[in-house]
């Protein structure tokens, strides 16, 4: 049986840390997840929410970020959807450019791709689905 949890997050980066804490508790409830899985989940959630709030909703207080978590026995699927126009995720390189090593941004999607087990986007590009095995 799949359990579903939904959360609306304001477009305020100050809300991200608490949202990550709440979502992590739900995602790992009833499972003996390793500290490593918890760590990966926290970083991926933080970056997905930051992308949605900053790049998607452009920190517009009138917009929300919608998070839906589907808890399966072995894995969690996390959908993070913003109200922005979307972006072409394929345009974001899957490897980091060594020449950009000392730039302060551009690592978010790269980290997400490496920390979770699977990543998908919707056609519009305003919703990311991350799958993470619980163990």
């Amino acid at each position: 049986m799949v359990q579903r949890v939904a959360l609306r997050v304001p477009s305020d980066v100050d809300c991200i840390e608490e949202a990550v804490a709440v979502l992590t508790r739900h995602c790992l409830s009833g499972a003996e997840a390793s500290p490593r899985v918890q760590f990966r989940l926290q970083v991926a959630l933080s970056d997905a929410l930051a992308n949605a709030i900053v790049r998607g909703n452009r920190e517009d207080a009138g917009k929300q970020v919608y998070v839906q978590v589907d808890l399966h026995p072995e894995a969690v699927n996390i959908h993070v959807t913003d109200e922005g126009d979307g972006f072409d995720h394929a345009s974001v390189a899957e490897v980091l450019d060594p020449a950009s090593l000392d730039l302060p941004s551009g690592r978010g999607l790269f980290l997400i791709r490496h920390l979770v087990d699977d990543v998908h986007f919707n056609t519009q590009g305003n919703s990311i689905c991350m799958t993470l095995r619980r163990q």
Binding site: I16, R40, L101, D102, L103, P104, G108, F110, H114
Partner: protein, 111 residues
């Protein structure tokens, strides 16, 4: 996130990060080090022994701080990263940009 300072006997400013270093609070760390730079501090050790997780914005803040400190003729090094935190630096190749030690004592010996 909480920040606390201590100055080593050799004059290195040790800044401890307690909690998460993320998009919502990264500017606190940047402003904190900026104030220390303005007071004349040039050698910094940021210790993450009490840090839970760091997101990409937190990593970016460290990159920006390292550049700023270098521009001021200083040195910024890191310590106390657990295995998970260190993996973030390895994934993003930032382990090649920062001098990282296991403990503050080991880091202080490298200044």
């Amino acid at each position: 996130m909480g920040l606390s300072d201590a100055k080593s006997a050799s004059g290195v400013m040790i800044v401890r990060v307690d909690g998460q270093l993320v998009v919502g609070n990264r500017n606190e760390l940047k402003e904190h080090l900026q104030r220390l730079l303005e007071k004349g501090e040039r050698r910094f050790l940021i210790d993450f022994a009490q840090t839970g997780y760091i997101d990409s914005s937190g990593l970016g803040a460290l990159v920006a701080l390292a550049r700023k400190v270098r521009e001021e003729g200083g040195d910024l090094r890191l310590s106390g990263l657990n295995e998970d935190l260190r993996s973030l630096f390895e994934l993003t190749k930032l382990d090649t940009l920062f001098a990282i030690s296991d403990t503050p004592d080991q880091a202080l010996a490298t200044f």
